[in-house]
Symmetry: D2
């Protein structure tokens, strides 16, 4: 990604919410490491798939959390500033998320 | 998970495939750590959501990889042994994956 | 659904867009009837599944179309009226769509 | 689709299951017609999206039904005949379904 294109959130995220998001990220890292261990142990494919599906759900939940925050803050602000493009951007993001 | 219920793959996974899977897991861990950094930097929600969606795709690709291996080995074997339950199990796994 | 709870769109939909949406609905009805015919002919499961997946994509595309219209009109309006609940409703709808 | 490429199911589907599938198809056609009526009445986008999501779920359920039947019959048979390609085909179908 182009360094110059980095965008920042106008209004900082709530500290408690950031802590919540980070603890979710840490848990997912733990789950991914768990899968590596399962591969080392030669565990059954079905068990690994259940673990992958658990991480998928955790990731989706995090995505919805960020999206909700996005809608309530950035999108709300931009709509009030009559930004014509913001809803197209929202739809593009929604389509990307599972 | 009950330790006693741990199941193992009958035929060991191909070494090259395990290496491939592990390198995918490592990349995803890197991407999750990247999101933590983005939160620390107060990066734009849209950028974080794009990153989450990239990990979702990577996870889904890994899931399909494990599923394909499962179908080609465990499931194929069980069908040949006239296991009546294996296809129900496959469908349950498919429904869990995104 | 409770007849009394029926809600209406404040600003009417664009006529051309309604025609577009209806023609998509008709095409999907045709595709569903096509599946019925395939069942009568005893067609191969794989062929039927490909047809189902085509309707899923068509339905998803229609959903995004209605969602985009919703975001650009109803949601935009409600944000401007400082409606506190509208983004929660949007997120609930997004979670329901595939 | 090429008429010559039409494939047929080797073992006919269970009559009761075909009736079940057809009644699901008819219900979905009814739901699509319901959306057309909602468009004519200028109904709220949120209500239409909930209806679309209901059809998506119904379609997905039908897809899983056909897939289960496929796994239990065609796929099982082909595995027993040592067909090398069948699992690749299954995975392609799974990836297409939502």
């Amino acid at each position: 990604m182009n360094e110059l294109k980095k965008q920042y959130k106008h209004k900082p995220r709530d500290e408690k919410e950031v802590r919540n998001m980070k603890s979710r990220l840490h848990r997912m890292v733990g789950q991914l490491n768990g899968i590596e261990k399962m591969l080392d142990e030669g565990r059954y494919c079905g068990d690994i798939l259940i673990q992958i599906s658990a991480i998928e759900s955790a990731l989706q939940a995090l995505g919805y959390m960020v999206l909700q925050d996005h809608l309530e803050t950035c999108v709300r602000e931009k709509v009030k500033e009559d930004d014509e493009e913001v809803m197209k951007e929202v739809l593009t993001l929604i389509r990307k998320l599972k």
